[in-house]
Each structure stands twice: as structure tokens, then as C-alpha cells.
Subunit: 121 residues, 2 copies
């Protein structure tokens, strides 16, 4: 059902947790399954220096957020905003169709964290 | 959103994993969210001696299965079959309505494992 990349990011998720004094915090709840995702970002000179996520979501949500935070760290904010659930799924090497909504959770929480940063600045 | 008992069983889930030579194995997939749950049981003299679960499901599914496996270990098969997603949620002290389907995953996987045992005996 899940490929090795998805299983790796599920079993050893990157960037799990919370940070002190984040520059932006985003929370998104899925209307499909009710799961929630929180993403926090640290931004300096418009570059995403760090990102952390926290979820009560399923394995696909964990794998998607782990991959997505890896994808945005080191990127300028503008580029990070180009992330979509499709690019996350591509990097993961695919997700079962029924789990696509879990990657949307990561996508939306990241954008909401960046918007939070933008609003404050 | 989640009470202390749910958080405890999510953060420190009991009976996670797989066993060698189970007497019954059950797998159930949720039509709501697409998540899967596997439960295995060890049964001697019609008493459930051990139970293990494995899931890619969300935190509520993990907490529900952790609690549900605790509830059936040591019980006669007949009594274990009386478990419902309602009794699991009661033991957990409640789950948000949108997460009720996650406890159904634990309920159905346990019953399917016991039926697997019954069919073989
Ligand atoms: S949302 Fe799928 S098991 Fe909870």
C-alpha cells in the first residue's frame, strides 16, 4: 500500500515538534477525517530557516508533513508557497488516492504558517 | 480537543506491533478515511492471552486500539466479542464526534481477528 519513502518518513518523521518564538504558526483541520496539523516556521531574510509540525493525523499525514517541511527548509518564502499537495505526493513517490486528503493537510498548514508570518511583517 | 487518557494512549500506545504465530489475525480498512488496522491475538483455552495492533491510522485510532487491546487481554473470547466502539470510547473518556470512526477501526479489527481464530478452530 505504501512505498519505502512514505514508510521511511512515517517511521522516522523529520521536523516533528514545536519551536520557541516561531515567526509564523499555521493550523489546518481536514474536513474529510477531522485530523489537525500545526506547522511552525522560522524565517530570516525571507528564507525559511526551520519548520516543525505536530499532528494527531494518520501515517500519510505524518509522512506528508515530514517531506513537506524538508522541502521548504532553506527555500525563500516565495518558492515555499509554490508547494502543493501534488508536489508533496510526487516527492513521496505517490500516495494511495484515498490518502490524498492527508497531504492537503500539510500543504494548507504550511501556507497558513507563512501567511501568519506575512501578516505580522 | 483530546483528554489526558487519549493523549496518554496516543503518546505511549500499549500492545503495538506484530506477534509470531498468532491464533487469529484481523485487518479492517475504514471506508471513512481509508486507514487500515491490523490486530493479532494469542488465545489459549478460550482466553485472550495477548493482542497486538499495527496501524497507519491517526492518533485516535492508535489510542482506541491501545485501549481496546488492553480491554480484551485476559478476557474470555465471548466477553471480548462484547466490545464495541462505544465501550472503547467510554474507557477513553470520550473522543470528538468526528473521530468516532477511528474507534470503529479498532473494534472491527479485533472482531475480525477473533473470527479468524474461530474459523481455524
Ligand atoms: S482518521 Fe483514519 S483512523 Fe482516524
Amino acid at each position: 500500500l505504501y512505498n519505502d519513502t512514505v514508510m521511511d518518513h512515517f517511521m522516522n518523521p523529520r521536523n516533528v515538534g514545536e519551536m520557541e518564538n516561531p515567526d509564523g504558526t499555521g493550523v489546518y483541520g481536514s474536513p474529510v477525517c477531522g485530523d489537525m496539523m500545526q506547522v511552525q516556521v522560522k524565517i530570516e531574510d525571507d528564507i525559511i530557516k526551520d519548520a516543525k509540525f505536530k499532528t494527531f493525523g494518520c501515517g500519510s499525514a505524518i509522512a506528508s508533513s515530514s517531506m513537506a517541511t524538508e522541502m521548504i527548509i532553506g527555500k525563500p518564502v516565495e518558492e515555499a508557497l509554490e508547494i502543493t499537495n501534488k508536489t508533496i505526493i510526487d516527492e513521496l513517490g505517490g500516495l494511495p488516492p484515498v490518502k490524498v486528503h492527508c497531504s492537503v493537510l500539510a500543504d494548507h498548514a504550511i501556507k497558513s504558517a507563512i501567511y501568519d508570518y506575512a501578516q505580522k511583517n
